[in-house]
């Protein structure tokens, strides 16, 4: 298996809160990895650091052997890193079609065309059509994205994230706030895309059915540290993990 991403002793604090406390982690191609952990474990912070949305305090990040620690987001994306967001992040005033068109234009290096018409680029149009059909939003392509249902917006967001053809794609709670039917659609999409072997997914998720059903590997975080890392069956048996989750439940029970 080829290594895609690796971190060395990554630290990040917000004021007094040590959000990430020396994280060493690596992600290989073709292994669907889930990152789990109680609220405040540092999962989203880790993704924000790896994708360049936040700067880190110390440590290093490598992508395919190249150091990307200080690289701005858009350059990381050009190198093959993508993500979806925990809080909906689409272009609400643009149509579904235009939403997908933006990353495709960038992928095809056509975003700096000032004077050509949008529909003059047949290759872009064809690719956008393919992606919108794949995520099942082709019939709604002319609708403003802000008017879609929550589930469809989630599907769209995934479509946008996939349009830049990332080798490594982070999905931050892809099924949050979805009804069961919509959830199945998203999971089908994730399964189908990871079967294509073009994209390696790393998922942050709270739903344990989703996590254990999809993942090849599970990373457990707690208070800014990785406390367990292994196959789903290994994680199920892991004492530390049980303690963390049981402890949480007990604490929540007391309150």
């Amino acid at each position: 298996m080829t290594e895609l991403l690796r971190t060395e002793n990554v630290r990040k604090s917000f004021g007094h809160l040590q959000a990430l406390d020396g994280v060493d982690i690596h992600f290989n191609a073709d292994a669907l990895t889930s990152i789990i952990g109680p609220n405040g474990a540092g999962k989203t912070t880790l993704i924000n650091l790896l994708t360049g949305s936040l700067g880190l305090d110390s440590g290093k990040i490598f992508f395919k052997g190249e150091e990307i620690t200080k690289m701005p987001t858009h350059e990381r994306v050009k190198r093959g890193i993508g993500r979806s967001f925990q809080i909906m992040n689409i272009f609400p005033m643009l149509t579904v079609f235009q939403n997908i068109q933006i990353p495709v234009l960038s992928l095809f290096n056509k975003s700096l065309k000032f004077f050509s018409r949008l529909d003059a680029h047949a290759d872009v149009i064809a690719e956008v059509e393919k992606i919108s059909r794949d995520v099942g939003l082709w019939d709604k392509r002319e609708l403003p994205a802000g008017e879609l249902s929550h589930g469809d917006q989630r599907l769209l967001e995934m479509g946008i994230a996939m349009s830049s053809q990332p080798e490594l794609c982070f999905l931050d709670e892809p099924t949050s706030g979805m009804n069961p039917g919509e959830r199945v659609k998203i999971l089908e999409n994730i399964r189908r895309l990871s079967k294509d072997k073009r994209t390696t997914f790393i998922i942050v998720e709270h739903d344990m059915d989703v996590v254990f059903g999809l993942s090849d590997r599970i990373v457990v975080m707690h208070r800014g540290k990785v406390i367990a890392d292994g196959r789903p069956d290994e994680i199920k048996e892991n004492e530390n993990v049980r303690e963390v989750y049981l402890g949480e439940e007990l604490e929540e029970g007391l309150i």
Binding site: S53, F85, N89, L94, Q98, I102, K110, K113, L118
Partner: protein, 337 residues
């Protein structure tokens, strides 16, 4: 935007009808000197100039999501640049071009400092830089003439030595020059907002982070948009000195930056034509109210306020949301059945 598609008026597509109306408008504009007197011609020039000014501003506000309060600074750069050159070299093209370029260069430099911030911080920074340009125009006597401004700017002939020379001393000739330049500039901007680049700008307005996760450098695109806005403000400013023969510091004042803001809000920020319609309304409203009171800005302010609260999409949205569906229901509905 979507409501336009598939709409038909009298059996013709929306596109056909609007193209026809546009053509009609342009024809009327070309006959303003014959049909109307000097004053309407003079007004039309001011409306055209404000249109270009406001369209450049709306590329920032409506398309990129940046509210600039410093556009008058670039307008003044265009006006002073053009005026200064025209005094030295009495030829129209070098004057206009140097005004536009001067504004563009200023916009690149100030833009580099401003686009790092968004929302209120961006607005405040542009306001500050705009007022710095105002102070320069006010204080730098040897260069700008201080509070007297630049005076005696000639309406120089449009010429390319050895090829042609058109005299501009008649207002009518200059009107045609302004009309053609503005129409070209507006057409060019229309192409830009409908291009891939234009779509990326709208993406930045909707969600900055999603655009950078599409592999696009948000800062660079903002800077380009800011520069185009500056160039358009500069062009508007550069067309003024040959018309008025003077350039004075108030052109750079922040209250002058409010003109494209008001015009854009009047017309509507989410349509391309909004700022043009707004510029027209701005001058018509001003012209009517000024006959009754010198405090015309109060009245205009009330009108804009009422519009923003009651009709956030501006005047143009009346056509899109009310008039077109109504016409369709009334006329096209019958022909369908």
């Amino acid at each position: 935007m979507m409501t336009r598609k598939g709409v038909s008026i009298f059996g013709y597509g929306y596109k056909k009808v609007s193209n026809l109306l546009l053509l009609l408008l342009i024809v009327v504009l070309f006959f303003v000197p014959q049909l109307a007197g000097k004053y309407p011609m003079y007004m039309a020039m001011h409306i055209l100039i404000l249109s270009v000014f406001a369209l450049g501003f709306n590329l920032l506000l409506g398309y990129t999501g940046l509210l600039s309060f410093g556009q008058a600074g670039f307008y003044a750069c265009g006006a002073y640049g053009c005026g200064k050159v025209l005094i030295l070299i009495p030829s129209l093209l070098p004057g206009i071009i140097s005004g536009v370029l001067f504004a563009g260069v200023t916009a690149v430099i100030l833009g580099f400092l401003c686009i790092r911030h968004t929302r209120i911080y961006f607005a405040m920074l542009t306001l500050c830089f705009g007022m710095m340009i105002y102070s320069l125009a006010w204080k730098w006597h040897t260069m700008t003439g201080g509070d007297d401004g630049l005076v005696g700017i000639p309406r120089a002939p449009l010429e390319i030595p050895g090829i042609f020379s058109i005299d501009m001393s008649s207002l009518q000739n200059y009107y045609y020059f302004v009309l053609i330049v503005c129409l070209l500039a507006i057409g060019l901007l229309y192409r830009i907002v409908k291009s891939p680049f234009g779509l990326i700008l709208q993406g930045i307005r909707d969600s900055e982070s999603r655009v950078s996760f599409s592999g696009v450098s948000v800062k660079n695109y903002r800077l380009i948009a800011f520069t185009i806005g500056g160039l358009y403000a500069g062009l508007a400013g550069a067309l003024l000195p040959p018309l008025e023969n003077t350039v004075t510091p108030p052109l750079a004042h922040w209250t002058h930056s409010a003109e494209p803001v008001l015009a854009t809000l009047l017309g509507g920020i989410h349509t391309f034509s909004g700022p043009v319609v707004g510029a027209f309304l701005f001058y018509v409203i001003k012209d009517v109210i000024v006959r009754f009171t010198e405090y015309w800005l109060i009245c205009l302010g009330v009108i804009v306020l009422a519009l923003v609260m009651g009709l956030p999409g501006g005047v143009v949205s009346i056509f899109e949301q009310k008039l077109i569906p109504w016409v369709r229901l009334r006329f096209a509905g019958r022909s369908l059945h």
